[in-house]
Symmetry: C2
Subunit: 219 residues, 2 copies
């Protein structure tokens, strides 16, 4: 890993690794990716005992082999001061981040658990539950970010959802001026530019599903 | 809240509040509980804007109104040094805790999303995935706890699962000596004794389901 600081093992798709890719980019970590396409590649890691619960993604960083996507994302955020050190800010970040994870669930589903059309229907039902909350929090905080004066784990979580929304809907934020401003601001960050240009994966499709099922031994 | 340090709002059942009850007891926080049985009680909190995403449980503590059960649990753990301050220990705690949350999902399901029989079938499929992992981690750490030398958020998460297992299965840990020892050790903690005697809620049943559906306006 000479020129890289981290190595991410996953499929060549979004899934649970996308939040890690985004966080690595935002915090400026140079990382390489290993894409699994065959069952044998996963079995090698399983045999080595590198996957605590037998699941991907796996991130190698700081001499650690990390699993569980949200634990990994929080760790990468922490090491770049994106998780605060004040307990009251931390719990605010955690609550908002966990809200973005609940919201994000629907965008993990297409092709794998339902058709794109069914997902879009469920997403539209989730919009009025989540979007006004984040709009209000942004307005009340008044700094352009969800918590405090700089980018945190919570902002990265929200950005992941908003980017997914853009992929499936036309102008989904038209009634949400704060969220619109937030999205533009986040997109102007150097790390997010790198992410969008170089690391963002394509939407879930049948090819990805076939690959994932083969690697997981479910085909 | 004169004699209490915290106030927990939820239903008179386990659900997402049980992890908070357990953590409050382990860390010795004196708390009172408000049980919702009518829709109007929830609407009052919603109107007051106390529920960030419109969901329970809500915990009032340290002048904060906290939501998102895992964020709340992590906060309560933090304020009693059950979450470490070392980033490498924190990510280890997070990974293991998140594993216990995945494992716990199946025990949240009975009556609400499936019958007790269906849940038990799914739980038995999950056992070989999770139990050997925690058995191994306990053995390797060698202190009787999952991470470091004292009780952490991860141990509380594991305890919640093991207690649920005991409710539905006979001697589920007979092939897991480390887990057996862990469970006994955790049960001997003063806070856990208080939890089991005073705060632990009954298993999900039809009465609880009816109540929850009514409060959520889904009946």
């Amino acid at each position: 890993m000479a020129e890289f600081e981290a190595k991410l093992y996953y499929f060549d798709g979004r899934g649970l690794a996308e939040r890690i890719r985004l966080m690595l980019c935002i915090t400026g970590v140079k990382f390489e990716e290993v894409f699994f396409t065959e069952r044998s590649e996963l079995e090698k890691l399983l045999k080595a005992g590198d996957l605590l619960f037998g699941q991907l993604p796996l991130l190698e960083i700081d001499g650690l082999k990390l699993v569980q996507s949200n634990a990994v994302t929080r760790y990468v955020a922490s090491r770049s001061n994106m998780y605060s050190t004040d307990p009251k800010d931390q719990v605010r970040i955690d609550s908002l981040y966990d809200g973005t994870r609940d919201f994000m669930t629907v965008f993990m589903a297409p092709i794998f658990r339902m058709s794109e059309e069914e997902m879009k229907k469920q997403a539209e039902e989730a919009f009025p539950k989540y979007l006004p909350v984040f709009e209000k929090v942004l307005k009340e905080n008044g700094t352009g970010y969800l918590v405090g004066k700089s980018v945190t784990l919570a902002d990265a979580g929200l950005l992941e959802v908003l980017l997914a929304m853009e992929d499936y809907f036309d102008a989904p934020l038209k009634d949400y001026p704060q969220l619109n401003k937030f999205l533009s601001k986040m997109k102007s960050l150097d790390g997010v530019k790198v992410y969008l240009k170089k690391y963002r994966k394509r939407k879930n499709d049948e090819k990805l599903k076939t690959e994932v099922m083969r690697v997981l031994g479910k085909s």
